[in-house]
Symmetry: C2
């Protein structure tokens, strides 16, 4: 059975939308995806570093459209691991696990990995929105489109714009 | 640079001693290593499952003799990752990270991995006290001697009885 390593932020959890919502609540200004194309989240949203250390930021992030249904189908056909580089934000660890338990209850604790560097991940397929993770990986790679990577060339990666498209490639 | 995946409980953190101390405090009975040879911790200490869910259990575990010095030397010569199957006990995640920060301050958050199954670990060398982890691993394996594995045959693994011995093999 092939093994897939699936990122959380920007792939399952809509952290862009969460940053945008929190920014809107604080400033009254709504930044649309096209306003922040090519910008890192810390550049796009000046208070982003404050937000990610605020309780609730990760716990209440919206789920990306279609991810639950496709994930459930992938979980039947592949060995699925959620791999989140969450170690930078220690207080997020229990929040992220609770979030997964709520929105992806078919996943078990055995399938969750919280790490710093993803260099240590052994799998056949990786789905991620960051080149720094995909570029280190020797298997098949799907680049999940996000505002921060939207303008960058795809490189050796297959860019996908939705979970429906992920399903089309992998199911 | 070769990569080493190093377990926490039973390799860096002396959870056997912690179980034994907590059991002594509750019951007045001191179980020595030889009293629990070959027993899983949950068999050796009837309230073990309660202890591991109690705040402070992991945060205050003793450090295994010699581990800090040898780890610091390994960290200069290898790509070191701490890999702990901590996901079963979510409340332990921040405690384990704080424990590492206190006792192994030369390690960065990039080097820490909290997972469920260790099947996903890609490294050259693994140091662990559990056969279930070492048996899945295709690289070089060091079995760290602990009461629970003490009576089992070594299998394909190199058994080590101390961090001094780890240093002898790897430095």
């Amino acid at each position: 059975m092939e093994r897939i390593a699936i990122d959380m932020d920007g792939v399952l959890a809509d952290v862009y939308a969460q940053f945008s919502d929190w920014h809107y609540k604080v400033t009254g200004i709504r930044k649309r995806p096209e306003d922040v194309y090519g910008l890192k989240e810390m550049e796009a949203f000046p208070d982003a570093r404050k937000y990610v250390y605020t309780p609730g930021f990760f716990r209440n992030a919206p789920v990306i459209e279609g991810s639950r249904e496709i994930m459930e189908a992938l979980n039947d056909r592949y060995e699925v691991f959620i791999v989140s580089a969450a170690m930078e934000f220690p207080q997020s660890l229990p929040e992220k696990q609770q979030w997964l338990n709520e929105h992806f209850p078919f996943l078990t604790w055995q399938q969750i990995v919280f790490c710093g560097s993803k260099a240590i991940v052994k799998a056949d397929i990786m789905i991620d929105d960051h080149f720094k993770n995909l570029d280190l990986f020797s298997g098949r790679t799907l680049l999940f489109d996000q505002p921060h990577n939207h303008l960058a060339p795809d490189g050796n990666h297959q860019r996908v714009f939705s979970w429906k498209e992920v399903g089309g490639f992998l199911l």
